[in-house]
Amino acid sequence: MHLAVFGGIYNNYLALQAAIDDAHRAGADALYCLGDMGAFGPYPDRVFAPLRDHSVICIQGNYDNSIGNDLQDCQCGYTDPRDNYFAKLSYDYTYANTSAANRRWLRDLPSEHRVEVDGLRILMCHGSPRQTNEFLWESTTSTQFLDKLANDYEADLILATHTGIHWQRELTGGRQFVNVGVLGRPENDGRTVVWYAQIRTGGDAVAGGIDIQFVPLEYDHLRLAEEMRDERLPEEFVATIETGWWTTCLEVLPSKERRRGRF
């Protein structure tokens, strides 16, 4: 089995379309999205048609839970006032520009999705299996913690997103935890590509286990930047798309991840 798994889209419908095309070209059997369709980018309503037209199986992120249930904020878990200021700007914009029908669709998404393929129990969630908006950063998540999650939630492969940076960890018994990254914005490394994961199991995997391939995806980021300016979104957000460096939401980064960035 060959799965393509997308993380947060953050209104980046151009990257979403590029990812769907790329996954199809690579021969993926099924497409998944782990939630957070909105935030950050322009024209929130444009992500829904590609998701539906290509039968992408979606789960609900904290952003989708908020937009879908008409909540006051995105439940992003920021602590810094500056981060919350920018989070509110993009939340208010996304809420105002998401149709009632699409909000209902977001509201009704499940918070997790389980599939069993080639004898492997795969659990897809947004932040962590125990909490939608939990940040599981590579540098602040111990292996025994992930092992316990895999035990408690009876999974051989846990797939998550939410932090915005992809990573993976091998667990005991050949199990795996994978943060698939996000399509919404680049990874704070000075590159403008965004990331998703292709996962092969059974006969599609080289060693018959679980093959994880992180895919750096080029898309028309300059067009996205232009459209963000057209929509008067903050120049700080546009700079991230154009340069690959995060300019906001930095307070929640652990030191190792923060150090790799410019700001």
């Binding site: 909540l71 006051q72 111990s142 292996t143 316990k148």
Partner: protein
Amino acid sequence: MSITDIPAVELQALDELWFQVSGTLCNLQCTHCFISCSPHNDSFGYLSLDEVQRRLDESVAFGVKEYYFTGGEPFLNKELIPMLKASLAYGPATVLTNATVLKPEWLSELRAAEEGTVYSLEFRVSIDGPTAEINDPIRGERTFERAMQGVRLLVEHGFLPIITMTRTWEEADDPEILSRFRDVLHQLGYSRPRLKILPRLKIGAEAQRTHGYDAEDVVTPEMLTDYDVGQLICAHSRVITDRGVCVCPILLDSPAAQLGKTLAESTSPFPLFHGACYTCYQYGAICTNPSSHLVEQQRAADSENRIE
């Protein structure tokens, strides 16, 4: 309120294991210290490297996510460097320090150790305001200058310390204090300062400096209705001391907070009997790093919705 009315908090998961590595021993004697640390207060003593190693092994079965090292001043413990290096083999580590006794050779060794793992080694530096005028009356003469030298040393070694301040000003002044501190740290050469403000805990030395808790400063069962209990450190942490396992780093001096000798003996629900529990309830997540805050997802039915 009778004892039966005191709500108890379940240990949801042992996410953070704390080590009281220098007990209540500190080179400073801050006038607001909630466990009255000083050069002479040995009511809690040093942990040994063997003890820390044993506890790290014990912690694996509980799925501990992160380790925190505190005191007193952790760097007074001569085995702290090997302790931190040992812990980085198990998970991320954070050390809470006053940054006045740091040595360059220690930081070089720790930086190399951090580079050798996937885990972050975080430093939380206590400085109680952006000026010596605010900080020194609390932490001691010249401590602002010495701690800022420590911050500079940390930054020179590639660390990104989180500066924590205990609020001895009006809460409304927080934005100004944060802004001033950012400027001061920029001038020092720290280009991306990380800051966290902590509430005062009115116990230990602080109860003498100002005043302790009032009888009405208690958490009632009603107050926990629709409250995210995950904000309370006792829901996801325990502390290793030289006397055994304590519920949290704040209530060390309270006999009822000593839970057992092993982690397995120390998982029972904890009653929020103390005034300090009220502060923890009010502010939430006062002990964890910003990257580890866990904020409960709102339930649509309970939350305030937008008006369409």
